[in-house]
Structure formats: structure tokens, C-alpha cells
Symmetry: C2
Subunit: 136 residues, 2 copies
Amino acid sequence: MTAHPELTRNQSLVLRALDKADGPLSAYTILDRLRDDGFRAPLQVYRALEKLQEFGLVHRLESINAFVACAHPNCHGHAMIAFAICQTCGRVDEFSDEVVEERLGKWVSAHRFKPEKTTIEIRGNCAACAGLAERA
Amino acid sequence: MTAHPELTRNQSLVLRALDKADGPLSAYTILDRLRDDGFRAPLQVYRALEKLQEFGLVHRLESINAFVACAHPNCHGHAMIAFAICQTCGRVDEFSDEVVEERLGKWVSAHRFKPEKTTIEIRGNCAACAGLAERA
DNA sequence: CACATGAATGTTATGACATTACATCTGATT
DNA sequence: AATCAGATGTAATGTCATAACATTCATGTG
């Protein structure tokens, strides 16, 4: 458990929506799912998402403009996380790799580049969906 | 020189716009720069970009919704390319790393994931811009 | 208590990025 | 000439994200 402030109502609702979902959600999908809870405007979602990302509870998937709840909400703090995103079923696997991290870190320091955010996303088909495609 | 069909007028114009630019351009910025050449609608740009990406002459930077001309237009064919993107000056460095590629490849085959496109993007500040920030 | 302060929220409008749908043109082939 | 595929032109629409401004709420300080 890393220390972070109590979540506000909006933040809790957004996080719960992502937790309940079986895959990544767009901000507007989250908005639709929270209409009954009083959400009216995109900004309510984006503001909550921003904080949740700061707390490490939510990740943004840059390549598909969507958001997922962190798979390791109790041990967050990884500097670098990679995602495998299934384009068929929406499943997202989150993993980190020290060697990749070290290698990119070496490139970065060799070039005196100051990284702020690193994105590693592999889009394709998960084992189940790739298998289905083969049999078809 | 890898074999690819002759570029059409629109494709040439878009590629030239990206080549002349000193950094990544959004599709709408490209559109604006090609108004005098008869471009009127976003789709003209997006269609050209799609083909240019197929030919390996242009890359899309997922994390900033922009496009760059490939830095190695004569030896393209890399399966996996990483980008370091300076958020201050817009400079983009393109590189590939066999170890990173191998490591991600191992994860992927261990999980029987079939990758279609891999994105590796490091956003931050390049040496020059980070240096300026320090001195400020 | 009164009041200042900072954070979060609510709401409207707008900006930025991308695609659908449909019509037209062009060049190569038969 | 008829046909066909690929490229193009155009309008409309869809999707993602933020700016600007007003309001509310909790908290701490004089």
C-alpha cells in the first residue's frame, strides 16, 4: 500500500468503473457509465483520471486512447510498464521488464535525454483470440 | 532503396511536408501547409499518411498524435523502432535496440501473443532543452 | 466566528484528431 | 468502348480532450 490521499467521490466512481470493466475504457465510455451517478461532462472524467494516474491507480493506453485500472494497485511505483493489448477482445496484460528498462535507460543517458514518460504498448491478438482466428 | 510503388502526387506532397519540417507534424498541420497545393480536407492527408506508413516512409507517434518522416528511409524494415520525443523543441530521435526487441519478443511468445504493432516512445526533454531548463 | 485559501466540482463551449459515406476521376486491361 | 481497381474530392460526422468561468467545500488562521 503506497500512501495516497483518500479518493474523492468522482475519483472513486471512475476507478470503480474501470475496475468493473473487463478491458480498457475511453473517457467518454466512462462518462456514459456514470450518467446515473450524476456525471454530465467529459471534464469530470478527465479530471478524475488525471489524479488516478498521478496516484498510479490508472494507466493511459496511448495507442488506443483509453484507460485501464492498474493491475498491481498495491505495489505500484514501477517506473516503466509495458502493455500487451488485444485488439479483438480488449484484454490488457501489464508487465515490466528490467532488461528493457535498463536498455532504454542506457540509451537515454547516453544521449542525455531526460525522460518524463515512457510508453511501451504491443497491440495485436492475445492467445485466445489469435487461436480463434486460426481456426476460422 | 526498398521496392515500393511510385508515390502519388498527394503522397509525395505529404512526405515532402514531413521532410521539410524539423519535427513531427499533426495531420491538420500538414493539411494547412498543403492548402496552396490544393489540399482541402483531412482525408487527403490521412489517406496519404496511411500509404506512407505502409511503405515504411513515415511513422506515427502515438503518444502525441503526430507523424514524422522515417529517419532511415533507405534501410527501413525494422520491426521495432523506438522514439525519443522532446516535448520542448519537438526533436525526435529514432532508434532500435535488439535487446529490447528480443526481450519483448520473449514475453510475447511466452504468452502466445501475436503482435501487430509495437509502440515504444519516450517523451521528455532532449539534451539541449534539458540543459536550458537547468540554467533557467 | 469570519474569512481567506486551495482543491475539487459543475457547466458550457470549443478545440483537436480521425473516419464514414458517397461521388468522381484516372489509368490499365480486356 | 466497357470494365475494374486504386486514387481522389467533398461534406458531414464521430471521437477525444481542454479552456474558461462560476461555484462549492473543507480547512486553517486571525
